[in-house]
């Protein structure tokens, strides 16, 4: 549990008398901040206490208390536990909270998300538009009193399915026989879609610039995506260009918004596990890990010793295959169509074979359970892992390094492109390899160790230029470090049970809140879970690295050529399932 250090505790309550109080709900932690003092408090926390990295912002709708809460998690880049602070406001529209963007620009996208899904208005936000849904959508879906068209019951398992066994299709109950609902007396013929008016409005300041000579210069607006081969899925970027140079850029997302959190708040705790697989679909094993950590924190379960090792092995294998694919796809974007990617996929298939043998599925592993893993890894599989770790993978990573890293075209396309300074990376809440490529040695495995990562000997890979080439090289460094961890883990793995206690379908989770976070291959992946003691989480939020790393995209691309956008975007490493959730 993240509890503030005792010295800070004294400081904070005394520093802001009356405005800051400890959160005293049982099993909760952190500070309650008065909304009038929020900005002052945040500046104090950042500048004087050194919590410079704002990791996560999310809202919780406490319907029964008539309260809306915004939860902030801030960390020190030098390591250590979180400082959690919260603002509570009455649940009466308009729900208003001051925006933290003046202190941490990294709050921008997360606040837009909270506005979109929970309807919390952030005063002072530079560009508060909907982000995952479209402008014109009716309602704020994550509010507890908002129901979707296929709403059946507040919590699973639905009574119609179990124990009654009366299966009823969702379509039959809906008046439109489809996943649709409209306001009363809605007339589709008269509807004027808002489309992208607000989006282009936000970019208008670039398009209407008068030159000193009095001549008007046209700016070119280009839409990349959502169907574009280099956007790795359904991402869309609206780029304003002066000739070929990018003046500004707005990411548009939500094309794969699958309502992960709304569904997750209706699922039981265990039912969420397979859904986490589908967040970052390259790395289902690490997603499971983060979620299992959060719920284990709430439950207070010890993880079986053998399972801890299995978890580390699976996570590091995941990291290697993710970085391999990243390198393959980045080179795809640069124009070496599919050849490096074919090499990457060859190794990835071997790692997927291991996942399949352990969990039964190649990609959607659904392998972790609260207190361990779902089944043991067979001896032959362990042998396969050893062969890969000690023999094949080191050779193949060296080979990739040798073929690519000094390639003239690659170097000239990547060097000094999309430079991100360390200060900006921190201010914009960057995490993962992209943060470390800017010279900030911040790795959750070291900074706030989870699982058994404190037992292994490895270095946090850092590179200092912050350009696209360093973001590429750091992946190679990290794969080598992962191999080091793997070598130790497969040697030390003990026998014994792979799960604490009996496997249970319905776990008992006490009331409270928990934030479990891990160093996923793409960055810091966090799960914020609030339980009320019921079988379903009250609030289930994913701090998705792919999403938050996009905040700085505009800053990185400014002044670059349009052709470099794909390289910069590819080097950040995002996956749309996690970005849009």
């Amino acid at each position: 549990m993240t509890t503030p250090a005792p010295t800070a505790a004294l400081d904070l309550a005394a520093r802001f008398p009356g405005a800051v109080t400890p959160d005293e709900r049982p099993n909760y932690s952190g500070w309650m901040v008065d909304k009038a003092k929020l900005l002052e408090f945040a500046a104090f926390v950042r500048d004087e206490l050194g919590y410079d990295l704002l990791s996560s912002i999310t809202g919780v709708d406490y319907l029964d208390d008539e309260k809306m809460e915004v939860v902030y998690h801030a960390y020190k880049t030098t390591g250590g536990p979180a400082l959690v602070f919260k603002v509570q406001v009455p649940r009466v529209d308009p729900v208003e909270v001051p925006s933290l963007t003046p202190i941490w620009p990294g709050a921008e996208l997360q606040e837009r998300e909270a506005w979109d899904l929970l309807g919390i208005k952030f005063n002072g936000h530079p560009d508060l538009r909907r982000i995952l849904m479209w402008e014109g959508f009716e309602g704020h879906p994550l509010r507890k009193d908002w129901q979707e068209p296929f709403f059946e019951e507040g919590a699973k398992p639905f009574k119609s399915r179990w124990p009654d066994g009366q299966f009823l299709t969702a379509e039959d109950k809906n008046p439109y026989n489809d996943n649709l609902q409209y306001p009363q007396k809605f007339d589709p013929e008269k509807w004027v879609p808002e489309a992208d008016a607000a989006l282009y409005g936000a970019l208008a300041k670039y398009t209407e610039i008068d030159d000193e000579s009095g001549l008007k210069t046209d700016r070119v607006v280009v839409n990349l995506g959502p169907q574009h081969p280099s956007t790795h899925g359904v991402f869309r970027a609206v780029v304003v260009m002066d000739g070929e140079t990018i003046l500004s850029l707005k990411p548009v997302m939500g094309y794969l918004h699958r309502n992960h959190e709304k569904i997750g708040e209706r699922n039981t705790f265990l039912q969420n596990m397979p859904y986490t697989d589908r967040l970052d679909y390259f790395c289902s094993m690490t997603n499971n890990f983060g979620y299992a950590l959060a719920v284990e924190k709430l439950m207070g379960v010890e993880v079986a010793e053998r399972a801890e090792y299995i978890r580390v092995i699976m996570s590091e294998l995941t990291r290697i295959q993710n970085h391999l694919i990243l390198i393959g796809m980045l080179l795809n974007d640069l124009g070496t169509y599919f050849t490096p990617a074919l090499y990457a996929f060859e190794e990835r298939e071997l790692i997927l074979d291991i996942f399949e043998e352990a969990s039964g599925s190649r990609m959607m592993c659904n392998y972790y359970r609260f207190g361990g893993v779902v089944r043991d890894i067979p001896e032959e599989t362990l042998q396969k892992i050893k062969d890969l770790v000690f023999d094949r993978l080191p050779r193949k990573i060296d080979e990739m390094d040798r073929f690519l890293s000094e390639n003239e075209v690659l170097v000239s396309r990547l060097k000094d492109v999309g430079v991100l300074s360390a200060e900006d990376a921190i201010r914009y809440s960057m995490s993962g390899p992209s943060l470390r490529a800017s010279g900030v040695p911040y790795d959750v495995r070291r900074a706030d160790p989870y699982g058994i990562y404190d037992r292994f000997d490895f270095d946090v890979a850092v590179r200092y230029n912050g350009d696209t080439f360093d973001r590429y090289m750091i992946r190679i460094d990290e794969m080598r470090q992962s191999l080091r961890i793997l070598e130790q883990a497969v040697k030390q793995i003990p026998g014994g049970p792979f799960m604490t206690g009996k496997p249970m379908y319905q776990v008992r989770v006490p009331a409270g809140e928990a934030f479990g976070r891990i160093e996923a291959p793409k960055g810091e992946l966090g799960f914020y879970v609030v339980s009320t003691g019921k079988p379903n989480p009250w609030r289930y939020h994913v701090r998705a690295p792919s999403f938050i790393n996009m905040t700085v995209l505009e800053k990185m691309c400014e002044g670059s050529k349009i052709a470099d956008f794909v390289a910069i975007f590819g080097s950040i490493d995002v996956v749309l399932g996690e970005m849009d959730r």
């Binding site: 849904m133 479209w134 014109g136 959508f137 009716e138 879906p141 129901q147 979707e148 068209p149 296929f150 709403f151 059946e152 969702a170 379509e171 109950k173 008046p175 439109y176 489809d178 996943n179 649709l180 609902q181 409209y182 306001p183 009363q184 007396k185 809605f186 007339d187 589709p188 013929e189 509807w191 879609p193 489309a195 959502p226 169907q227 574009h228 081969p229 899925g233 359904v234 939500g254 094309y255 794969l256 918004h257 699958r258 309502n259 709304k262 569904i263 209706r266 397979p274 589908r278 679909y281 599919f338 990617a341 074919l342 996929f345 060859e346 990835r348 298939e349 190649r362 990609m363 399932g577």
Partner: protein, 215 residues
């Protein structure tokens, strides 16, 4: 396809011309050409797209079926593999892409989400199956389908192409089937313009929340 398959029965080919000459029907030679070089659109929606890429890669190698040429532009592709969850925000784009594809065109719904909404069906932003908007030729089950399943689905599609006849396929006929599909509009919820009269009628008498109405 060897000569025997291509040859229509009933015509004897002289032995000295065997291997150089085939007597066949227009349908057969036409279908053989089309089924052997189906170009899929390079278009990934979600998790299934990764398995689609894996199927392209060395181990499963879709090139064996003449399908290795993935075109990023719909104008150059014959097949749309809908690989992943179709959301309400994305479906206007999917329909527009489908409209832009030249005929003959085929659609494969890959995975549970594209076929019927899958695990995310209850979500407020999820379309329960791409077939609500565009006609689907082959459905592939799985979440995600393995590359083997995708290959099996594509072979199924080839079998379907083999059985088609120029006289009967819809794109060579006049009629409602070959007109463009109206692009859905994003309103308070997704609006399928083909259903606008029905929506207006139902919205006039039903409040927004169906569950509340029954309570």
């Amino acid at each position: 396809m060897d000569n025997k398959e291509l040859n229509s029965p009933g015509y004897e080919i002289p032995p000295e011309l065997e291997g150089q000459l085939a007597v066949t029907t227009l349908d057969r030679i036409y279908n053989w050409g089309r089924r052997s070089s189906v170009w899929p659109m390079m278009f990934g929606l979600a998790c299934c797209a990764i398995e689609m890429i894996a199927a392209q890669a060395a181990r499963y190698d879709l090139a064996r079926f003449g399908m290795e040429v993935m075109r990023p532009s719909p104008r150059q592709s014959d097949l749309m593999i809908v690989s992943g969850t179709v959301t309400k925000k994305m479906i206007p784009v999917v329909v527009r892409l489908y409209n832009q594809m030249p005929e003959p065109k085929y659609v494969v719904a890959m995975g549970a989400c594209a076929s019927g909404g899958g695990p995310f069906k209850e979500g407020y932003n999820v379309v329960s199956g791409v077939d609500k908007f565009i006609p689907v030729d082959v459905y592939i089950p799985g979440c995600p389908p393995t590359p083997q399943a995708l290959v099996a689905g594509l072979i199924k599609l080839q079998e379907k192409i083999d059985k088609q006849s120029i006289k009967q396929v819809r794109w060579y006929r006049k009629g409602a089937d070959s007109v463009e599909i109206p692009v859905p509009v994003l309103g308070p919820d997704l609006i399928d313009m083909r259903r606008s009269a029905e929506i207006k009628k139902t919205a006039a008498r039903r409040p927004q929340q169906p569950a509340e109405a029954e309570a």
